[in-house]
Symmetry: D3
Subunit: 131 residues, 6 copies
Amino acid sequence: MSARGPIEYRDAAPDVRAVFDDIKRTRQVDDVNNFWKYLARDPRTLERTWHSVKEIMAPGALDALTKEMVYLAVSATNGCAYCIASHGAAARKAGMSEAMFGELMAVVGMANKTNRLANGYRVPIDPAFET
Amino acid sequence: MSARGPIEYRDAAPDVRAVFDDIKRTRQVDDVNNFWKYLARDPRTLERTWHSVKEIMAPGALDALTKEMVYLAVSATNGCAYCIASHGAAARKAGMSEAMFGELMAVVGMANKTNRLANGYRVPIDPAFET
Amino acid sequence: MSARGPIEYRDAAPDVRAVFDDIKRTRQVDDVNNFWKYLARDPRTLERTWHSVKEIMAPGALDALTKEMVYLAVSATNGCAYCIASHGAAARKAGMSEAMFGELMAVVGMANKTNRLANGYRVPIDPAFET
Amino acid sequence: MSARGPIEYRDAAPDVRAVFDDIKRTRQVDDVNNFWKYLARDPRTLERTWHSVKEIMAPGALDALTKEMVYLAVSATNGCAYCIASHGAAARKAGMSEAMFGELMAVVGMANKTNRLANGYRVPIDPAFET
Amino acid sequence: MSARGPIEYRDAAPDVRAVFDDIKRTRQVDDVNNFWKYLARDPRTLERTWHSVKEIMAPGALDALTKEMVYLAVSATNGCAYCIASHGAAARKAGMSEAMFGELMAVVGMANKTNRLANGYRVPIDPAFET
Amino acid sequence: MSARGPIEYRDAAPDVRAVFDDIKRTRQVDDVNNFWKYLARDPRTLERTWHSVKEIMAPGALDALTKEMVYLAVSATNGCAYCIASHGAAARKAGMSEAMFGELMAVVGMANKTNRLANGYRVPIDPAFET
């Protein structure tokens, strides 16, 4: 096992295993994905990140599908290949259809375009938006 | 009227006025906001951008509120102050409650965090995400 | 004079004055702009940055106007308000017309859009681009 | 054909084929590149994006080569691997020499550097840039 | 008190006050800064963010000053004006001298430059970095 | 040798060889890494970049390890895969332990998160940060 590679369950210390177990139980999966296995190299970051993700991504005022699509939108904006793959898969699992994906990407593309037009044209904020 | 400032309706050429009229009709507002007045310096960009925005932001497989929240998520990620203000206002108008805004920002913050953790730990994409 | 504010010519040490003089001579201006006055707090960064900028922005295989427009395109993409203002002014001084500005921003907007579409759709690089 | 993979011409619906035909005719190529084949999963996004790209990238106040170099500059800034490859190839086809590429990258690198220096030093915009 | 503005201590619910008290005690300050007052609109995000920040920014394998300088480096890269101001102040309080600030910014500028040169030149990762 | 690939020492012109020799001497390595071999296609950019890197990364008010960790933090924020690999290796060589790496990434993740929370909540800068 390379010191910089993933930590597999069989090699994990008890605190890491406890987090892996909670991820598997919460998501009803047989194994955690690579992101968690790499974070496991720093058990405190693993634990803190998982607890935040678990709380933030749970359904609340926004449903789980909307949250996954927002996650995907941010990841596509930042160009994070891993996160686009993992949250794309999570969004589809949560019910994102091909039509929804197409519209999501259309909004992401347009927002990235108009963000730069607003920058380049140096558009001042309308007073109406401040009230 | 400065050549680099906004184009007001009273100073606008017919092609610009036609776009302004369509924006006002579609959104049922009395005046267009600054973004469109600045884009009006380049009538082709104004027309192209408005027609795309009009089509993309209309309800479809995703409802208008979800689309506005995604737009806000991208704008917060990119740090576009104008777009955060304008699409924040639009999302509230479309029904975003304070609780929904709080959860939206929590997802945006978390996605921006884990995007960098995935980068820094150089996490390879799980084969399961490719199928 | 605040330790964190700009360094004016009258307060500058000889090494900073030498750089300020070279900027004024090269650009034929009466005073350097704020960027240089702030960098002057670290004379080595001031000197290194100016010498690189002077060499890079001089006409070569690309003319000065094209270089200023590329600088503006990058600054609009990154959302750097100072750089958008300063390089917008520099590009106009170098000959950028309103029509050229409009087309420049249209390309910048479109590139920022399709960059994210390529990310989100996970488009693999065509073999033809590698040869 | 995977639902998430590219749409080839032989499998495409008539509206998608019409766009593919126009791309091939306009660019005088035998096949469209992967970007368009992936966008074809959402025919409306394909059509809207192609029509905008076709109009924006046509020679106008700026020539086609300058536009391709600006596209490449934005793509390198955003780190979009696909777009760097595709617009690098397009820029070379439009006449970008190795010397031009070298100077372009030098400007892109410098702009990305000074954008952050301006941010970090919190440089206020010179009044002279506002007039 | 606007629903979208800051929550002051006197208007805060008990759970928000508890976090504010812990921030004031930990940092030995009389009042929390605006960031926390705005986050207080969503008490769960306030609590989660503060607990993570408190744990992450405490001295460990890296000292507090190094951590504040890294925070400032990221904020300058992203162009977050608020965070540049707040973490610049925090870094100075933790001992960052003007000379250290100058060198920090020089590294941030250079990294942002070479990140784009590596992108634009499409440099493949050396096998030696993988071992 | 492809015109767009790396320049190896044996194929390099004298000015490029001089830079390669200085890199090897300064870093006490047998060969330069790919970044320099690709930049060598533009000898002026190679020379300018190396001289700046050599000066900026030398120990000063900040030690070499801190500078490499800041470089890595910026590269992870920007998602530059090459730079994450090369500066990760350089930071480890300079003494970054696994615990230090874990804390560095935790700060980078948190900064990227709170940068967006500050954007999204539109937090105004505290007057106290301006003095």
